[in-house]
């Protein structure tokens, strides 16, 4: 089996023998004249966290909602847990967990009522109290949905997403609107799920989140997957040049180089001791992401 179409050199395909939870080839979907998804190829390996990045309107939501079975597609092959989502039955659905963006339902039910109720839909659910505990809502289990804070509300969404013991979990921009502390706690929660073997497809706008959580990062732009790799290598990040900066004669100087170690060594000799304001900077995931998106939109015009 060959996986990954070498259509884009920055898309590093999953290994040939990888056990895939999701396999997408040539996915297309248009809304009227607009081609929202225009040939996406994507593999999600079982057990990994794959983060999908991309600007608004790039096709992230359409792609994930096709995989979740919410939207139909115009063309391409899609396989999610061995099934075509367009014909997914209840049995297939019981193996998925979906954490929606912007859900505002269940406000009149308490956390425990909601989680217990949804547990009833699944053939082999976790214990509701155990799941409530794992998302850190134990002390809120008698609180109604409308009385939860934004972060607690999202934890409830995650609890409902994982109650059925999913093999594959979709997380759509799960930490939007979180304060920094809530985001850290949420990340721990996701790491815990990954540790228990759950495959996770995450869409996010936060590059630090992708870097921290994801085994691999995919970038979607103009309806196509333009890059996909481990965070440290995305877009050739590991091979790109480093910027070394320091202060000399009262001015900050910097030099872009392929051999930052050599440069720092020379500087160390020159200054005899500490190099003032020394910094070695490699492009952050954000730098790489922005240049990928930039190059792609320039390629269009």
């Amino acid at each position: 089996m060959t996986t990954g179409r070498a259509s884009d050199p920055l898309v590093v395909p999953a290994p040939d023998d990888a056990d895939l939870a999701v396999r997408v080839r040539g996915l297309r979907r248009s809304y009227g004249e607009t081609r929202a998804v225009d040939g996406v190829d994507l593999d999600v390996v079982r057990g990994e966290v794959l983060a999908l990045l991309g600007p608004n309107g790039a096709g992230k939501t359409t792609t994930t909602e096709i995989l979740e079975g919410y939207r139909h597609r115009d063309g391409g092959e899609v396989d999610v847990l061995g099934c075509d989502p367009a014909h997914g039955d209840a049995r297939w659905r019981s193996r998925l967990g979906i954490v929606l963006q912007n859900a505002n339902d269940l406000g009149d039910l308490t956390v425990e009522e909601a989680v217990s109720h949804f547990a009833g839909y699944y053939p082999d659910p976790h214990g509701p109290l155990e799941v409530i505990e794992s998302v850190g809502l134990s002390d809120k289990r008698r609180t109604r949905g409308f009385d939860l804070s934004g972060g607690q509300r999202r934890r409830l969404d995650v609890a409902l997403g994982v109650i059925g013991r999913p093999e594959l979990l979709f997380l759509d921009e799960p930490t939007t609107g979180f304060d920094p502390e809530a985001r850290r706690e949420f990340w721990d929660l996701i790491r815990g799920l990954r540790g228990s073997g759950t495959t996770i497809l995450l869409t996010t706008h936060y590059l630090d989140e992708a870097e921290v959580l994801a085994d691999r990062v995919g970038v979607i732009s103009r309806g196509r997957l333009i890059a996909c790799d481990v965070p440290a290598r995305l877009g050739g990040r590991d091979e790109s040049q480093a910027t070394v900066s320091w202060r000399e004669d009262g001015v900050v100087r910097s030099e872009v180089t392929h051999e930052p170690t050599g440069l720092v060594h020379d500087l160390a000799g020159r200054f005899e001791g500490e190099i003032p304001a020394l910094a070695v900077h490699r492009p952050s995931l954000e730098d790489v992401y922005l240049s990928l998106i930039n190059d792609d939109s320039e390629a269009e015009s």
């Binding site: 057990g47 979906i98 269940l106 039910l109 009522e113 699944y122 059925g164």
Partner: protein, 277 residues
Amino acid sequence: MTSAAPPVSRPSSPSGLSLGLRRVRIELKTFFRDRNSAVWNFLLPVLLLVIFGSVFGSQNLGPGITFAQYFVAGMIASGVLYTSFQNLAIAIPMERDDGTLKRLQGTPMPKVAYFIGKIGLVFVAYVAQVTILIVVGVAFYKLHLPTDPAKWFTFLWASVLGLISCTLLGIAFSVVPKNGKGASAVVSPIVLVLQFTSGVFFVFSQLPHWMQVFASFFPLKWLTQAMRSVFLPDSAASLEVAGSWELPACAAVLAAWCVGGLVMSLVFFRWNKRGQD
């Protein structure tokens, strides 16, 4: 990375019926905890009964027939429309907006369970509402409860056919409001117009002919008429346009709307918001 975890064979999923009954419980909890809908569905008809009953109640429509009695029958018929059509045509668009329908669609819940939940909610809400209306009617407005079992049988089939047709119509109509916020602004005037033209607020036989013709295309006119046959003395049949209760016609029109409602709900109902499927 974990090694291959082949889809384990899992216990079979819970059945649609048992999940439907679980949905009924959740629907009832949600309905009675949401103060807004409880006010609308319970206090408004009772409030209307008190206002109309107090202002016009003592007017005699004929020997031993007061407007209050006429009005209670109309409000009971309206109760069908409130708890089924109005309730669902407003609640479902709101659930489409707030993510309820999307979340349910993403679970293995058989879709029929959602509708069983709604039907159970409608049924319980109607029974509760009618009980309150009858109690208030008997206590304050000289409503006479029939002793003839045949009249209770009419009450039963009129309620059931009315609830089925208006529930299905509410499910079908839930695609009309553009969003949840605007739903009640679209649905409430329709209910109000039907009430005005169907003999709830005014005596039907005194309405202009064109209005009578208009109303006779819709279920409420026939439902109201059937309810009058239950709660008014037989002599009141002379107040009807046809001079009789026309019960076979009432049953036929309501049954036709059950079929029409079923077809329309199957054709028009949507889980997704517009443009999101």
